[in-house]
Symmetry: C2
Subunit: 342 residues, 2 copies
């Protein structure tokens, strides 16, 4: 399959080349259909590749003289970083030279550059970051996770379509259950935007809408796709990471408080390691930027080799099921909801 070509923003992420290069080599070695273009500083990449063994016919290096810093303002990056590894990788995607871009770089810059370079799908007002969150269900897809702070109801309704398509295409779920994230107190059952989004989604015959869900439901087994604006989604994601690591710290502290605890802790280590690998959102990794004319997959900024490898696998899988085209088809099919004043 010649079309399984990924462009990797080799300079992105907190660990840059130290994660992206070894992860790319591992991905190439486990998947003989895969071709990777590493975009970034040619000399540094060559240096990072030196001790690695891989099929060089399936790995290219494309030089980029610049890179986007993790804390750079997206607007500034857009103006000044047209020669960055991120921008050049996205250009490859726009030109059809690769099937997907994978980056662990600056999220805001990736969204902004994605919209300008790769462009939005027809009728998509806002792209959304979507990632699988560990749950009793295996995982629940949640979107948006931070590409948009403020959304109108129509945006949330589009997120529902895109998220549902993702769950269908990636996991083969026939009729993914879609919920709108809301809060419980009756007085204030949601904002007008959330209520209106619920109405729009309920009116879409292509969606299996189950109504409002609460924050805790994300981790249960009652919903497959949870829709929210990017502010709430990002807070929810960071809170879930924060709680998981807080509980880990607490358990550690409890276990090291006594000799018996220390012994228990040693015995428990493999269990905890297994749990952490399976459940920690940080390691679960990989958010898809949905709504662009090409596939952009975002790894966690703090991606280590293993988690960037997971992201590369997710990207390869998404390419192999032609995710981007399938979502475009779903969006085209979508019954346009009655226009509403916003």
């Amino acid at each position: 399959m010649a079309s399984l070509r990924l462009a990797v923003d080799a300079m992105g992420g907190d660990f840059g080349l130290r994660s992206t290069v070894p992860a790319s080599v591992l991905a190439l070695n486990e998947n003989s259909d895969l071709h990777i273009t590493l975009v970034g500083d040619r000399t540094a990449i060559a240096e990072a590749l030196r001790s690695q063994s891989y099929d060089s016919s399936r790995l290219d290096i494309l030089h980029a003289k610049d890179s986007v810093a993790m804390d750079e303002k997206p607007a500034v990056a857009l103006r000044q970083k047209r020669e960055s590894s991120m921008a050049i990788a996205l250009g490859l995607l726009r030109d059809g030279d690769v099937s997907a871009v994978v980056s662990a770089g600056n999220t805001g810059a990736l969204v902004a550059m994605g919209c300008i370079i790769v462009e939005r799908m027809n009728n998509v007002r806002r792209p959304a970051m979507c990632a699988p969150i560990p749950s009793d269900n295996g995982h629940t897809y949640m979107l948006d996770l931070g590409a948009n702070t403020e959304c109108v109801a129509r945006d949330l309704a589009q997120f529902a379509v895109m998220g549902s398509a993702l769950a269908r295409v990636i996991d083969g779920r026939a009729a993914p259950r879609v919920g709108v994230l809301n809060i419980g107190a009756e007085l204030i059952k949601g904002t007008p935007v959330v209520r209106e989004a619920g109405d729009l989604i309920a009116a879409n015959p292509h969606l299996n809408y189950i109504g409002f869900v609460e924050g805790g439901d994300i981790f249960g087994d009652g919903v497959d796709v949870v829709v929210c604006d990017g502010f709430v989604g990002n807070v929810a994601l960071k809170v879930s990471e924060g709680v998981a690591s807080f509980i880990r710290r607490r358990l550690q502290a409890q276990l090291s408080a006594s000799v018996m605890g220390a012994v228990l802790g040693m015995l428990l280590k493999p269990v905890l390691r297994r749990m952490q690998r399976a459940n920690d959102p940080r390691r679960y990794n990989g958010a898809v930027l949905l709504g662009l004319k090409g596939l952009v997959v975002k790894g966690h900024g703090g991606s280590d080799v293993q988690s960037f490898l997971t992201t590369l696998r997710q990207a390869a899988r998404a390419v192999s099921v032609d995710l981007s085209r399938q979502i475009a088809a779903e969006l085209a099919e979508e019954n346009p909801p009655t226009p509403v004043a916003q």
Copy 2:
């Protein structure tokens, strides 16, 4: 101290009298300064008290012929439930017969009735639910947790003043570090409301403002008071509960997957129980409704005896430090920020 008088909405919460009555008896028995008025169905309360032993001179029953259901619409409760245990308890507070009301009942109804019956403090546009969230720091106060879905910057700035006063008064922290909950992506560093709230809080010389914090920071040791709107706060709270119980389920599943695991699980039980007691937000319990002219403390709807007892203790503690008056004083002292168009 004759003024340590609490009114308990005996009918509120998922378990109603089964939680509120035994917890009230335990509270009376551990604190000889305490006086409790149980408000609710006289016959049912008397029945629930029958097997209990307590100092009857410090316990009254006030009959209420009605109660607010947990799923009742607050607007409906406001109109139709003036004779409910919740409304009558709040009336005792308004009339100065008690120093605080404690209820595990319907949050929305409690907020709505609180505003009408107890009334807001001068200049407070919106009351806020505030609770301590377990953290490396002991706990972090977070508000609003669901009394308001949509807030203007001025509301968030008032929450900051009230939360800071709470941390100072309850925990004796001299200059509580206040943060505004925000998200990381640079493109969209917060909504206009959040950014403006940050500016207002920064301009208040009475507050120790440390800037924006992210969802994960709530559980660390870098911030004492986190301010957000009630929609985001409620989602964050429910997510944190959801993740904690998801991790518990996962650990359980891992431990029951092998004989070795089962043995480990048995040995671990006391550790896990201790952790759960200390860290589970559901058990931590007790949110204060800040911004009313009297002290209203809300227990979790799912409060069992132990957690309702915790809520009663929190209420007694808040009364003993005269929380409500201290917050009113802080609000009066607050430098009114320059008026802004909203």
